[in-house]
């Protein structure tokens, strides 16, 4: 299912709740997945920081995708809102470094929705496939 070029990697951050349940469902249903995506599960996306996202790009990620809980559904009340702020701040730093805006994205995803999860992931990989080549 990957539309990325050989060697390109995507780092996918999810919290333990909504998006992660989608990920589990994809595995449980045996739907095809790609090794180009490296999923990292956090307790809550409120844990994310610009430094963590930049580290992924420093280590050669072609893109970083964060999947958070829908508004009003964060188990820690405001983690998904905090994550949005962090993503915006990090985007402005990445722009200075010459990265394209599409290489970092943040989407909200309701629980137990494996098809939408795969669609969001596929769409992200399609958008970044021609962006700046990273090493």
């Amino acid at each position: 299912m990957s539309t990325l070029r050989t060697g390109q990697k995507v780092i996918l951050f999810t919290c333990s709740w909504h998006a992660y349940s989608c990920q589990e469902e994809v595995g449980r249903l045996g739907k095809p997945q790609t090794t180009a995506v490296i999923p990292i599960r956090l307790s809550c996306l409120g844990r994310i920081s610009p430094g963590i996202i930049l580290k992924a790009f420093e280590n050669g990620a072609a893109g970083v995708l964060l999947l958070g809980c829908p508004e009003g559904h964060c188990r820690y009340e405001s983690g998904n809102l905090e994550a949005r702020k962090v993503v915006e701040e990090t985007k402005s730093i990445l722009k200075l470094l010459g990265y394209e805006e599409c290489q970092l994205d943040y989407q909200l995803l309701p629980a137990e929705n494996p098809d939408q999860y795969l669609e969001v992931l596929h769409s992200f990989m399609t958008r970044i496939q021609d962006s700046r080549v990273t090493t």
Binding site: S49, P50, G51, I52, L54, K55, F57, E58, E89, S92, I93, K95, L96, L97, G98, T135
Partner: protein, 382 residues
Amino acid sequence: MNKFKEVIQANRAWYCLDCGKCSSVCPITLHIVDGYTSPRLLVEGALASGEETTLEDPLLWSCLTCQRCSEICPSEVNFSDFIQGARQLAQDQGRSGRCTHSGMVQSWMRMMADPSLEQDRLGWLTDDLALDQDSDTIYFPGCLPYYHAAFAELGFEGLEIARGALKILNVLGIQPRILEDERCCGHDLYWQGEMETFQMLGSLNLDLIQKSGAERIITTCPECAYTLRTTYPEVIGDLGLDIFHLSEFLAQQPSLKTTLKDNGSEGEKVTYQDPCRLGRFAGTYQGPRELISELGYQLVEMDHNRKTSICCGTSCWSTCGQVNKDLQSSRLEEARHTRAELLLTACPKCQIHLKCAQKEPGKSDSSQLTIRDLTTVLADRL
């Protein structure tokens, strides 16, 4: 001779008299609560027990390399460079300090070491600022665009400093050039002992600057000025041109005074934070003070000023904890006691760190204190 002994030898650590004067002025030692350590004890451990003791000492990474200890040392032990050398050895062994901000700044510095990187860092320029890409003067904004993006929430002036510097230079009839592909000078990586990346950044800058054919560089960051002027010739290569911090350059421009507009702040009390790399490292104390005087302010010095000035509390984006916050709060208290409502500094990082400390709950009641860069205050008066 092994490498550790070379570090001892090069920085005169053998000459330590065990007098403890360094410990009495070290801002970290003063605020340590647990695990007491001091420059004297670290050097004593280095001489008596060797490398491992030094590399395990918490001061190895928490030292601000502010040079306050060397300023008072009767034996001229160069403790800051000793720490830098020991950190290099520690890095070679895979050890490192604790990064602040989840390593964000270190990441963008390392990313800038990639020769193929094509930055988009000039979006902040406005039409009213005149540049000339054939100018003999380079304005070197350093990481200001990055800090602006990262620390906007603190009310950090960031790009206002860069725009202010260009406005001042324009008024003086100088239309500088800016290097589109300028990289971080590498100051923080150098002082953290991360030499390989520092050399990569330095080589890219050296090549870019030498090819430009310019004759001088003006920067608004004391760390950039010190690194380009002093560290590059020692480690990377001589850039072969004059390097100024803006306050040093303006001290040579008497015409600036006649262009300053009065804004009714004549006689208003201000205080000044000497940045370590501009003050103790470069010996520039008077230039910024003269500019403050030309602005018509009444400068009220903090208890610790000039050579005895206290660091803004964190260096190299590493090891910021309670000790640093206490140190910063105590510095803000000093500023408050001057009864000045404006604290001026000439270093972007001083501003970031002190503004961050102002937000620390339950610490210094310095909320009335406005912290600004000398550059932006000057630019506002043109």
